[in-house]
Assembly symmetry: D2
Amino acid sequence: MSNPSSTSSSFVLPIRIYYEDTDAAGIVYHANYIKFAERCRTEWLRSLGYDHGSILKEFGIYFVIKHLTIDYKAPALLDNYLSVHTHLETMGHTSLTIHQDIFRDETLIADLKVVIVTVNLEGQPQRIPPQLRQIFSPQTL
Amino acid sequence: MSNPSSTSSSFVLPIRIYYEDTDAAGIVYHANYIKFAERCRTEWLRSLGYDHGSILKEFGIYFVIKHLTIDYKAPALLDNYLSVHTHLETMGHTSLTIHQDIFRDETLIADLKVVIVTVNLEGQPQRIPPQLRQIFSPQTL
Amino acid sequence: MSNPSSTSSSFVLPIRIYYEDTDAAGIVYHANYIKFAERCRTEWLRSLGYDHGSILKEFGIYFVIKHLTIDYKAPALLDNYLSVHTHLETMGHTSLTIHQDIFRDETLIADLKVVIVTVNLEGQPQRIPPQLRQIFSPQTL
Amino acid sequence: MSNPSSTSSSFVLPIRIYYEDTDAAGIVYHANYIKFAERCRTEWLRSLGYDHGSILKEFGIYFVIKHLTIDYKAPALLDNYLSVHTHLETMGHTSLTIHQDIFRDETLIADLKVVIVTVNLEGQPQRIPPQLRQIFSPQTL
């Protein structure tokens, strides 16, 4: 599991909490952490030189989320400044298993496991192209 | 302006407030009323026999929002049961001006004016087809 | 697992898909199913005679989500009409494990397992009050 | 009206567009620009040394949105990098009128006028405290 002191193998995105992210219980609405996680995966991809459009254009594939698990450890509040840590756990022929932790300073707020499948335009699972395999691996494993 | 006692000329959609709709101030987040208004316009369209897909398919046009004004009159709260009232105010060659009121019982929560333009697939303004003009008019003016 | 033919033990809520629920991939955004699931749990609670406010007032407790797992089986689209099925799987001293399935007709779109803990105003786990235990059980187990 | 070449009198916040911000029309969902505008007003406040919590604590007031007008000029797309420009237009005894422009490079995407009222804990309009008047003025008018 990644943590703030081992960021060498994680991509980290800071997230500020606005009113839109909170609910009437005074805390961040539970589904919104899943948006924060997706923002971080997108910026991790961008840091590797790609975005969703370029991957579709260059390889004819896109990413589909198949499975997501989230554990809620502590509530986050309005105006909190969080950091999302993204770490590629395993890479299969057509899938990526990604681990993500959301922290406020040293406090773990939530952690997620996300399984993503690469599919072609017809929605059929498609092998991850070698160029992407290479790019994903060294920086993250 | 429409109100609960003159629903003959309005289309009405009930909306229940869930945690997702509220914010840390304990009230409905201000941008979410704009979602409720769009849900009601969509159901009004459906009540007239159309949805966004069928209008695109049958007439090659879709609706684009150009202008929106909203006045916030009173806060709505978790578990409130609201009603959105939608009323076509004027119809131009390529535009619809729609008035919408959001009530909790007799209390006006917000009212909106929304200007929508009909465009073709290239995004150019397109005259509202006669069949749609006819359908919009009698029920709503 | 609940399914449309065994609704005797499930609470069912219909959900219409609006533009707000979709994303640029043309499908429902993955985090939004988690909102639909929460709407259904809230309506299930209401069908049992309670809402979040009355549970807090009467018992001094509220529900906190600790764990959520979701499997995405098929994409849902704009204007789709879904049904969320909610089924109480197990009840512990201070927790509820709830299974939820989201269907479009006979097609399973997603299924979720949600673990909820009852806590007091200080956020400490609190035993589920006998009145609530009794209400949850017969209708749902 | 502010524009990218006159940022001296505007506070500017960059916004990246993620899947969560878009809809099935392939563009940013119209209500989401209102969230971006609020993020920018919050960061403008923070740049002046305050946040919602400290203003409530120090002055016993908070901000309530009374009126909002938005004109949609051009669509924004997934992965776009926008900038929100916030500019205090006028300050009344108990209200602020704020102008906000959202740009993608030199293209105006949307512009908003937002009227905010300062209220006390009972929700009654309350004069803007002198310390806040002073802070708002020089940087922004």
